[in-house]
């Protein structure tokens, strides 16, 4: 049982970080479907810098690439007012492709000194609490939420809609980058093409299931981590085929989060903002 709880937290951590990152952008009204790609690119950057310099610097590099990824998405979604879904998918594809292309020389290379998973898991939990505080207890949080709910009103009150959205995407990108760095510097610890293996998409789904609430994202990510581990722990001891077991984490997380409260998206989610329209 202890083992299962430990796995819940350690495997839940990258999901938590990535969903917190997506959540932040979405509370400001920008859908982030680029998570998988940003995570992949950040994982590569983190790993490369860890080899050249050191794992802590690698962690910073991962966060940095995440921030850039968020700003990149912002350029299309905020400045150019492109369709956010299309822009996000493009970022996801671009990040995956670029990491595969640039990462060839890092495959099959071991990382001598991985970062401790436990410390990063604790950091992720603190970040979730911090994000909750940021959203509900700070001025920036108030602006962020109002921009996500009613950008026109926020604009009238003198809040820079574009500025807040860029800020949220950059900060969120940093968290997504941290998720990628966790994968390649602590969880694996090595790099291969496609190593995010859909975790970014799970994180995107978790944001919706968690009803855009950081603390519910903690619950969702850990629950997913727990069930993901249990599918293997229980396989063979119950007369259930392994394929059915594999679906269990997804189904149960949806069920639990669906039952624990109604999800309401930020009203302006997915809508580009243009002054005077």
């Amino acid at each position: 049982m202890e083992e299962a709880l430990l796995r819940a937290v350690l495997f839940g951590t990258p999901l938590l970080l990535a969903s917190l990152g997506a959540l932040l952008g979405e509370r400001s009204g920008v859908v982030n479907l680029g998570v998988e790609g940003i995570m992949a690119l950040a994982a590569l950057a983190a790993f490369a810098v860890a080899l050249w310099a050191s794992p802590p610097l690698g962690l910073l590099a991962g966060v940095g690439v995440g921030v850039l990824g968020g700003v990149f998405l912002g350029f299309f979604a905020v400045t150019l007012r492109a369709n956010q879904f299309v822009a996000g998918l493009a970022v996801a594809a671009l990040g995956l492709g670029a990491s595969g292309l640039l990462g060839k020389r890092y495959e099959g290379v071991p990382l001598e000194h991985p970062l401790p998973e436990g410390g990063l898991a604790l950091l992720a939990l603190l970040l979730a609490l911090g994000l909750h505080h940021l959203l509900y207890r700070t001025r920036f949080g108030l602006h962020l939420r109002s921009v996500g709910e009613n950008p026109r009103a926020a604009d009238l009150f003198g809040v820079s809609v574009d500025g807040v959205r860029y800020g949220a995407l950059a900060l969120g990108g940093g968290l997504i980058g941290l998720a990628g760095a966790y994968l390649s510097l602590a969880y694996r610890p090595s790099w291969t093409d496609g190593m995010t293996a859909g975790l970014g998409w799970v994180a995107v789904a978790l944001v919706i299931l968690a009803a855009w609430e950081p603390l519910r994202a903690v619950l969702g990510a850990y629950l997913f981590g727990l069930l993901f581990f249990l599918q293997f722990r229980l396989q063979g001891s119950l007369p259930i085929p392994s394929e059915a077991f594999a679906a269990m984490p997804y189904l149960l997380v949806i069920l639990v989060l669906a039952l624990s409260g109604r999800a309401r998206a930020p009203k302006a989610l997915g809508q580009p903002f243009e002054r005077g329209r």
Partner: protein
């Protein structure tokens, strides 16, 4: 005008020289760069190209099974004479393309269906798995050996069974705990499946997944592991004991040479099936190239004893002796030699005979000692 003649001749010569090259093209199911299946095929392609000066190769990576036919058609347009399809799932597309392009030679890895211009080939690990099983049986203190398995298909089942037969030959009470991840490549599943097995007491690991994740995870808890597919010693130098290593270039070079010499044509491949083993050098037992057993673990394996025909021998000696035998021109030993019963007690291979190739290729039963879900297990 005359000034151009040498250039024209040179160009013509170049064109002719080009024309003499045999163009072989490869379709890969995954990205080349990983440490697994596709990487190994690409290594084989490169080595074949280096060994055969008249060979020209090309490849397309990460081709989903549904996209195989368009890629094959592109290859044909580009003048590929030989096309290697390196995934089981390409089977349908290969047979369809083979009908459409009767002059092109196809070879389908892990395939089971052939045609006049379609051969099948496989570098198989079952002998190596048995030898690694012997080492695993000797190294396990808990008597629980973990196996993180990809898909429940005959190939993977054959390997798990060979491994389990080896484990049991040393420790008749040992269990091989199997967990299916239903993926060829998924580091997160490989990690959590390994964690689950560690939590259940497994202290030695083997696996079928295209990343070093199982090894890295096992090493964190001090457990032993066997590398898979490519040398993985570097990922855990103190914990990797040995492993299965493939040499696709051995098959590629042989096949292409025979095409070049005219032995293989687009009309006589119906019966060409490579199922190459240690004897042909298509596979190797090792923690790294040329390192059958990690020197760090040799003393332990020398100390461990097992009973062979009523005689006590060192496990290390047994492994080396069998490795030598099966690598030689006339192997006398085969892991699937009867009598072998499955874990339910049904006789699968009668006493005194070896499993036939057909039996090996369609194997569905589970060996004694295998514990866990086993989809498709015969009643």
């Amino acid at each position: 005008m005359r000034r151009w003649v040498p250039f024209l001749l040179a160009a013509l010569g170049l064109a002719l020289a080009q024309g003499e090259k045999l163009k072989a093209c490869f379709i890969y199911v995954g990205p080349v760069g990983d440490a697994g299946w596709t990487y190994a095929h690409d290594l084989g392609r490169k080595k074949a190209e280096a060994a055969l000066p008249w060979l020209e190769t090309r490849y397309v990576e990460s081709v989903p099974e549904a996209q195989a036919l368009p890629v094959i058609e592109r290859f044909v347009r580009e003048g590929c004479k030989v096309i290697f399809a390196t995934s089981f799932g390409y089977g349908e597309a290969v047979l369809e393309a083979a009908k459409k392009y009767p002059d092109v030679l196809f070879a389908h890895a892990t395939g089971v269906r052939r045609a006049p211009n379609v051969a099948t080939y496989m570098a198989d690990f079952y002998q190596v798995y048995y030898l690694n099983g012997l080492a695993a049986g000797a190294l396990s203190r808990t008597g629980k050996v973990g196996y993180v398995a990809a898909y429940p298909i005959p190939e993977v089942k054959r390997h798990i069974n060979a491994f389990a037969l080896g484990v049991r030959a040393v420790n008749p009470k040992a269990q091989v705990l199997v967990r299916w991840i239903n993926a060829w490549y998924d580091p997160a599943k490989a990690r959590e499946a390994t964690e689950a097995l560690l939590a259940q007491g497994a202290d030695v690991f083997a696996f079928t997944e295209d990343s070093p994740t199982v090894i890295q995870t096992a090493a964190r808890k001090g457990a032993y592991a066997f590398g898979h597919y490519t040398p993985m010693l570097k990922f855990a130098p103190d914990h990797v004991v040995s492993g299965q290593i493939v040499h696709w270039e051995v098959i590629y070079t042989d096949f292409l040479k025979k095409v070049k010499e005219g032995v293989y044509t687009a009309k006589n491949l119906e019966n060409v099936d490579y199922f190459w083993l240690l004897k042909q050098g298509a596979v190797e037992m090792g923690a790294d190239y040329g390192v059958p057993i990690n020197p760090k673990h040799v003393p332990l394996l020398q100390k461990a004893r097992m009973s062979v025909g009523g005689r006590q021998v060192a496990v290390y000696d047994r492994i080396l002796a069998l490795l030598k035998d099966m690598s030689g021109p006339n192997p006398s030993f085969d892991p699937f030699t009867g009598p072998i019963r499955d874990r339910k007690g049904v006789v699968r291979i009668p006493a005194g005979r070896k499993a036939t190739l057909q039996e090996l290729l369609t194997l569905e039963w589970a060996a004694p000692g295998v514990v866990g879900d086993w989809p498709g297990e015969p009643r």
